[in-house]
């Protein structure tokens, strides 16, 4: 009887490890962080704040993007892009 129990236990152990081996986490692609520092080197043409691509990159890189957040985003943008961003602000919205 003890012998049979041991066999059952070993079988269960084997099955459980097989299950763990197929956990979805094992198949997850390795995550890659965005290389936001590359935005420092982008030209002003590439960094048009009205462009959905630029808005998406800023969102990805953690720049806030609404109301005061827009001002924060422009403050946080690389220096050589800020002038372009300020130029595109509507009158009366200037404020830091």
């Amino acid at each position: 009887m003890k012998h049979i129990s041991a066999v059952w236990l070993l079988s269960l152990l084997f099955v459980s490890t097989a299950t763990l081996a197929h956990s979805p986490d094992k198949h997850k692609k390795s995550a890659e962080k965005p290389k936001c520092e590359a935005m420092e080197n982008m030209s002003q043409e590439e960094m048009n704040p009205d462009d959905p691509v630029v808005q998406a990159m800023m969102k990805k890189c953690g720049f806030a993007h609404s109301g005061a957040g827009e001002r924060h985003a422009k403050d946080s943008m690389p220096d050589h892009h800020r002038t372009n961003a300020k130029d595109q602000q509507h009158s009366g919205h200037d404020g830091h």
Binding site: K29, A31, K33, P34, P52, V53, A56, K60
Partner: protein, 186 residues
């Protein structure tokens, strides 16, 4: 009556010849042997006309939301880039080995090298076509039907991303498509 008999006889011979051809195994089916020009034209026309008809009623939503680019970009990088490439990449094992070769979607449509049997597309038709192909795939082509495993929103997000992809630099592509640990799209 005689003419009808002759036509029926010819049709029967034609069908038997076709069946004999199919069973003979002489037509090369390897992906490394291109179709002849006639077969290629026929298959391209069949595909394009079928997709155009099937997609004609699709309503295209607004695709300018930056969130769509982030969602679609991450999915594209996970599921599509092996065949359809990314900025700075000109080929992969899949583009070399598959037939027909998957279009390089990081290039503008006119540079795909991927002819469309019905000529140019207006912009709405192009979006409907892309959405339909992503959702339903293409038979015997290697293009899967992603609609079986992805929501409508994610499919449209990929369409939105495809519109911007040809304009992206490698650095922009990397930022938009990076799926770090905080992303929960999968």
């Amino acid at each position: 009556m005689k003419i009808l008999k002759k036509l029926a006889t010819l049709a029967a011979i034609g069908v038997m010849a076709l069946v004999a051809f199919l069973y003979s195994g002489i037509y090369p089916m390897g992906a490394d042997v291109p179709h002849n020009a006639l077969t290629y034209w026929a298959l391209e026309t069949l595909r394009e006309r079928s997709v155009a008809k099937a997609s004609s009623d699709i309503v295209v939503p607004d695709l300018d939301d930056p969130d769509l680019l982030l969602s679609g970009g991450a999915d594209y990088n996970d599921m599509c880039v092996g065949c359809h490439l990314k900025p700075g990449q000109s080929e992969s094992d899949m583009t070399i080995g598959l037939y027909p070769s998957p279009p390089n979607l990081s290039m503008p449509p006119e540079e795909h090298g991927h002819s469309h049997a019905n000529g140019g597309h207006d912009s709405e038709q192009k979006l409907r076509r892309q959405y339909w192909i992503i959702k339903h795939g293409i038979k015997a082509s290697g293009m899967p039907a992603w609609g079986a495993t992805h929501s409508e929103e994610r499919l449209w997000a990929m369409v939105a991303f495809l519109q911007k992809l040809p304009e992206l630099s490698p650095a922009q592509y990397q930022i938009l498509t990076a799926r770090d640990d905080s992303d929960s799209h999968h």
